[in-house]
């Protein structure tokens, strides 16, 4: 046995302190505030308060980790004992992270992910362990070395060498990312927060002032078009600022170091993270450009590997960022340097002109037509035709926007395959170029109907080892010749 058996540091149970111990804290506050009588009178609810802390404690007490030359063994379970063995060769990423509490006590959380975590057993095969600094780094080396002593020594030597970061990103880069990235969710939440919360606070501070009248008065200063434009600009700026603040805190001091066998990614202000991505376990990368990024020639790069950037970190969904923001040609140069077994050419075979008609057979087109027909039908036949011209005008505008979006989608579609990578390009106003290692593709599915098949077009879906979110990438309405090319390189 090279390590363990051990439970690790007890601090692990306080990892999600607010989530797990929130009710206990609330109980404590109520007891202090209202006195113990109210608690004693409601004893039946006490069990609810302590369920989560007790389950976390039991899980900690009855889970032991050990590592030998070949595998990691996890013994767990209170009543039903379970032994899980994970071969070290199956481990894809090993990452260290520290939240504020862990930083105070110099404890690191180790999270090891393995290939089985794309399927239903993802939670069962999770390895989460908290250890003191020296132990944590030893276990990380051990897991990365796959039990090979020689390799472990090599890794140690490599660790001792000071690796120069190949990618560094400062706060200004993330602010730029926040501005250029279209983040609808942030914009909506900011809008609701500002207009909901803002008016509420304003009404408390200035009780005499009627906030809705004030907004109305302000909006009346401008013509409707200018008013809407100002409103959109304000909402966009607020959305971009909030997005930038969140991103800067999460990805503070972001660096990527290039080791022979792995990429080491470090970042974080309050919660510091350190990921080691084995290069041979990387399935692919995607280069993303929002519409503003395309205008200014910028892009961001995400990487596909189990354990990095999926939702396995509870509610803290992280992007699988490799290069947050950079000029497109700079990204090409760096990617070729750090992932030499892939190719990042962009010689796409664009979708053929004849295939344009099939792009119109999409959900959004049918949805828009359905809404328009329903709206006109309702207003003409059932509700009178008072607003028919307005409805027709809006319907025409929506239809035109949808047609343009479909045409742009056709223009951006493309695919190519060679022995190193299969690459798919798609997008409407933004653009995504996905590069998947050919030897990581596990299945190729094509979906077509008789009519489309006769004309020689089909839609390809590639299945590969990656977090569920991205493990099925589609190329729409490509020719059968292109499908044959993909099948050919995959079987080779």
């Amino acid at each position: 046995m090279k390590f363990g058996p051990t439970r690790g540091s007890i601090l692990l149970i306080f990892e999600h302190f607010v989530k797990d111990f929130g009710l206990v804290l609330l109980l404590l506050m109520v007891t202090i505030w209202k006195g113990p009588q109210i608690v004693l009178a409601n004893m039946q609810f006490l069990i609810l308060v302590f369920i989560k802390p007790i389950s976390v404690l039991v899980k900690y007490l009855f889970t032991k980790y050990s590592i030998d030359e070949e595998k990691m063994t996890i013994n767990s379970g209170l009543f039903v004992k379970k032994i899980m063995e994970i071969p070290l060769k199956a481990i894809t990423t090993v990452d260290l992270s520290q939240n504020l509490l862990f930083q105070i006590f110099k404890v690191y959380k180790i999270k090891a992910d393995n290939s089985s975590q794309t399927n239903d057993t993802s939670k069962q095969a999770e390895v989460v362990l908290a250890l003191k600094k020296e132990e944590a780094f030893y276990v990380k080396d051990l897991l990365e070395s796959k039990g090979d002593l020689k390799e472990q020594d090599e890794i140690k030597k490599q660790n001792e060498e000071i690796l120069q970061p190949v990618i560094t990103c400062t706060a200004s880069d993330f602010i730029l990312l926040g501005i250029l990235q279209s983040k609808l969710l942030y914009i909506i939440t900011t809008f609701s927060a500002v207009f909901g919360g803002g008016t509420y606070i304003f009404s408390i501070l200035f009780e005499d002032v009627d906030t809705s009248a004030l907004i109305e008065k302000f909006m009346n200063l401008f013509s409707p078009a200018v008013g809407i434009a100002i409103l959109l600009l304000v909402v966009y700026i607020l959305g971009a600022v909030s997005s930038a603040i969140v991103t800067v805190i999460r990805y503070f001091n972001y660096t990527v170091k290039n080791r022979n066998d792995a990429l080491i990614i470090e970042f974080g202000l309050f919660t510091k993270k350190n990921y080691t991505l084995k290069k041979q376990k990387i399935s692919g990368v995607t280069i993303k450009q929002s519409v503003l990024m395309r205008i200014f020639g910028y892009c961001s790069v995400e990487v596909f590997i189990i354990g990095y950037g999926d939702s396995s970190e509870g509610n803290n969904k992280e992007l699988s960022i490799l290069y947050p923001i950079a000029k497109l040609n700079q990204v090409n140069y760096i990617l070729n340097e750090i992932l030499p077994d892939m190719s990042f050419e962009r010689n796409y075979k664009k979708a053929e002109k004849k295939s344009l008609r099939y792009f119109f057979f999409c959900f959004r087109m049918f949805f828009v037509i359905g809404v328009i027909v329903g709206g006109i039908f309702e207003s003409m036949l059932l509700g009178g035709n008072r607003y028919i011209f307005e409805i027709l005008g809006v319907s025409f505008a929506i239809l035109m926007i949808t047609i343009i979006s479909v045409y742009l989608e056709h223009l951006n579609s493309g695919i190519y395959a060679n022995t190193k990578v299969v690459s798919i390009c798609n997008g409407i106003l933004g653009k995504e170029m996905t590069f998947i290692k050919t030897n990581k593709i596990e299945s190729v599915s094509q979906r077509t109907n008789t009519w489309k098949q006769r004309k020689g077009f089909t839609t390809i879906k590639l299945g590969f080892l990656a977090p569920i979110r991205v493990s099925n990438i589609k190329a729409r309405n490509v020719t059968f010749k292109q499908l044959e090319e993909v099948n050919h390189v995959m079987i080779l």
Binding site: S116, L382, E442, S445
Partner: protein
């Protein structure tokens, strides 16, 4: 490529399964419509709901009578030296190619309807997902499973 077809009993198995589902939906929708009929709702909306419910039930009924025949004609599979190819669908035909070197494990499953009809389904698991060949005769399923297992073992021995 020489494609194999499914066992003819597959049509009957789909019909039985879809009939059970139809019965369940019929009872649920019927119950909801009965409540709605007595509810205080505008006739206009009631009509919409009745039309939608009628269309749903009609679609499900076609699913029992017509779709199994089309589905049976479209279902094909082929297992060669290096790949498994599965082709199925009703209006949209999906063809999947799986390199045998990517197969992780295989399972044979028989539900109550399949057991009664002497059928089996072979499920092929990859690290990134799974694919199924349904409506096979038990004997055929065992042959396919053994064939794929031996290929997987060959690959593991090479590794």
């Amino acid at each position: 490529m020489n494609y194999e077809k499914l066992d003819e009993k597959a049509v009957l198995s789909w019909r039985i399964r879809r009939s059970i589902s139809f019965l369940f939906i019929f009872i649920t929708v019927g119950g909801v419509l009965l409540i709605l009929n007595n509810a205080d709702l505008e006739n206009k909306y009631k009509n919409y709901i009745f039309i939608a419910a009628g269309l749903l039930l009609l679609y499900k009924l076609i699913g029992i009578i017509l779709y199994p025949i089309i589905e049976y004609q479209q279902w094909r599979y082929a297992i060669t030296e290096d790949k498994v190819e599965i082709r199925h669908g009703i209006f949209f035909i999906t063809t999947t190619v799986i390199p045998i070197i990517r197969v992780q494990h295989i399972t044979i499953s028989r539900g109550p309807i399949y057991r009664k009809l002497g059928l089996s389904a072979v499920k092929i698991f990859l690290a990134s997902g799974s694919f199924e060949i349904v409506g096979l005769s038990e004997n055929n399923a065992n042959v396919i499973s053994e064939n794929l297992k031996s290929r997987v073992m060959e690959r593991l021995n090479k590794e």
